[in-house]
Subunit: 137 residues, 2 copies
DNA sequence: ATTAATTTCTACCTTATTGTAGTATATACA
DNA sequence: TGTATATACTACAATAAGGTAGAAATTAAT
């Protein structure tokens, strides 16, 4: 029961960028500070940019920053880009017809947990996480 | 954010066996009723047996049933066999030193959810799920 | 004994995730 | 305009999860 590693990386890097709003940060710098494989991170940054969460500046002194139009990004937006949100509406046992009326054996236990998980990813934003960067990964 | 598919399969099959305590159920039967790939399920049953959760009877009219010494199995015991319990104590951002004193950015949000998840897998048992098998997978 | 139905064991295949390498392209600035 | 420093793009490699195939071993019943 966990996020994909790519999602971990994405949240890590987005939190870091949110704490350095006005600087262009290069992949190499982020790779070193956040301990994420360089080339893999490069591709992830590109993906986050295509998804509209980041602004990019190519060439010398280039890098990435949070997109100016997206100043309060929620966790669900990041997760949506990296692994999708399907699992937050899915039956934990993979029963395709699972519902309150037609529940799988774990339904009543899982539903409330799923609700809490959703509440977290839809309510926590990068703004809530500002300042929290004294972490060595 | 989900269980591995193998864990899904394992819980499905254990719930079914718990509802048919006195019968030897063959892999072929379970495969058909629970819609789990035949050969893959065979290996999973063997794994659950080696872990002591099931009793096996080889040969004609053979199959599996819940091990007589394990009449009230909790979810965490099944999950431990299929994917391990590491993720239930792990930082959601993979920060190796994450703790109350030295938290990652998501720590305070994740900790309470993790606690609920643990409470579920340590408190829900197959006994709690008996009778709930009117499900077509 | 023989046969049929079952698990066991070993090997391999497929797919998704994670990670690496190299070249092309863009930008800043001397 | 040349050079240094970035990202973009494409291809491929490694690993883990999920899945398949077939022969060997075990058991029940005839």
């Amino acid at each position: 029961m966990r996020f994909q590693k790519t999602t971990e990386y994405a949240i890590r890097v987005m939190v870091f960028l949110a704490n350095n709003q006005n600087e262009w940060l290069s992949v190499n710098h982020l790779h070193q500070v956040l301990n994420i494989p360089y080339k893999y991170l490069g591709r992830l940054m590109h993906t986050l940019t295509k998804a509209g969460l980041l602004e990019v500046n190519m060439g010398k002194h280039g890098g990435y920053k949070i997109h100016p139009d997206k100043q309060n990004i929620f966790l669900y937006q990041i997760i949506d880009v990296t692994e999708g949100l399907e699992s937050y509406d899915r039956c934990i046992l993979g029963f395709p017809e699972c519902s309150d009326e037609n529940p799988c054996p774990l339904h009543k236990y899982w539903i409330s947990l799923q609700k809490s998980l959703k509440e977290m990813i839809y309510s926590v934003s990068l703004g809530d996480l500002k300042g929290l960067i004294n972490v060595k990964y």
